[in-house]
């Protein structure tokens, strides 16, 4: 599939923790960008879901973060870095259903313990690095074919 991309396209979005009013806006804009580039809708949905989950994690848990994207003919790479509490036990956090979200977050429909598993499930490559007290970085690559 030929995409309307010459070289690479990259950019980033600033994310503010606790800002639920505009939560998801970065993912929506990225979805629109991929749509305009002619990426297949199934790939767009996977990228959008992985990005949205990562974005929501920053909104829910961190003070702030940045979402960076890098699009080439072959793939989209998404890196989300946050200044949050960090994750003590990553293997536990990767288990479906495990969550440390407070009750008020669950009442809003988040904190089901599916965020990180959803990111991994929708990515072709997934990595996570976290330091307790400093923050978390998630990197995801979704191939276009």
């Amino acid at each position: 599939m030929a995409l309307n991309i010459s070289g690479a396209i990259e950019g980033s979005f600033q994310l503010i923790g606790g800002n639920f009013a505009t939560a998801g806006e970065a993912s929506t804009q990225l979805k629109l960008k991929l749509t305009n580039l002619g990426v297949h809708e199934d790939i767009i949905r996977r990228a959008a879901i992985a990005t949205f989950e990562a974005e929501m994690n920053v909104i829910i848990y961190a003070a702030a973060g940045r979402l960076h994207y890098y699009i080439t003919q072959q793939s989209i790479k998404i890196r989300v870095e946050d200044m949050g509490p960090g994750i003590e036990d990553i293997s536990l956090a990767m288990q479906e259903g495990y969550s440390t979200a407070p009750e008020w977050v669950r009442e809003m429909g988040w904190g089901a313990g599916m965020g990180l598993p959803n990111m991994k499930k929708n990515s072709d490559k997934f990595s996570i690095d976290s330091v307790v007290g400093e923050g978390t970085t998630v990197e995801m690559v979704i191939n276009f074919s």
């Binding site: 939560a23 806006e25 949905r45 879901i49 949205f52 429909g109 313990g113 959803n118």
Partner: protein
């Protein structure tokens, strides 16, 4: 399944004002947890939920959901309705509970998003 058929089966009222005659719903999921909605994702699907906040609309848009049904006669506030209008996602409200709404649609031939 068309929006009109869904509304009839669920005795539901349309909250957003457009008729959306072109919508063809092919499957459905029922959830109050947004990550569950994102887990189920399939194109042209319906979401049955009890949550009415604006981020339900954003989640629906990301997950490829074309229509949302709120159970127990719940009505979202104006900010949710306005966002749904912007995103072209029609909203319905049914007196049914989530279990009954899901059962009625399944019985009428609308499968779940996950085929298991």
């Amino acid at each position: 399944m068309t929006l009109k058929e869904i509304a009839e089966i669920l005795n539901a009222a349309l909250i957003t004002d457009s008729e959306y005659p072109d919508i063809n719903i092919q499957n459905a999921c029922s959830a109050d947890m947004m990550s569950a909605v994102l887990y189920y994702h399939t194109p042209n699907s319906l979401l049955i939920t009890g949550l009415t906040q604006p981020h339900v609309i954003r989640t629906a848009e990301i997950a490829g959901i074309k229509t949302i049904v709120f159970v127990l006669n719940k009505k979202p506030d104006d900010s949710t309705i306005e966002l749904a209008r912007q995103k072209n996602i029609p909203l319905l409200s049914t007196p049914c509970c989530m279990y009954t709404a899901s059962g009625r649609l399944y019985q009428a031939g609308l499968p779940g998003c996950l085929n298991k």
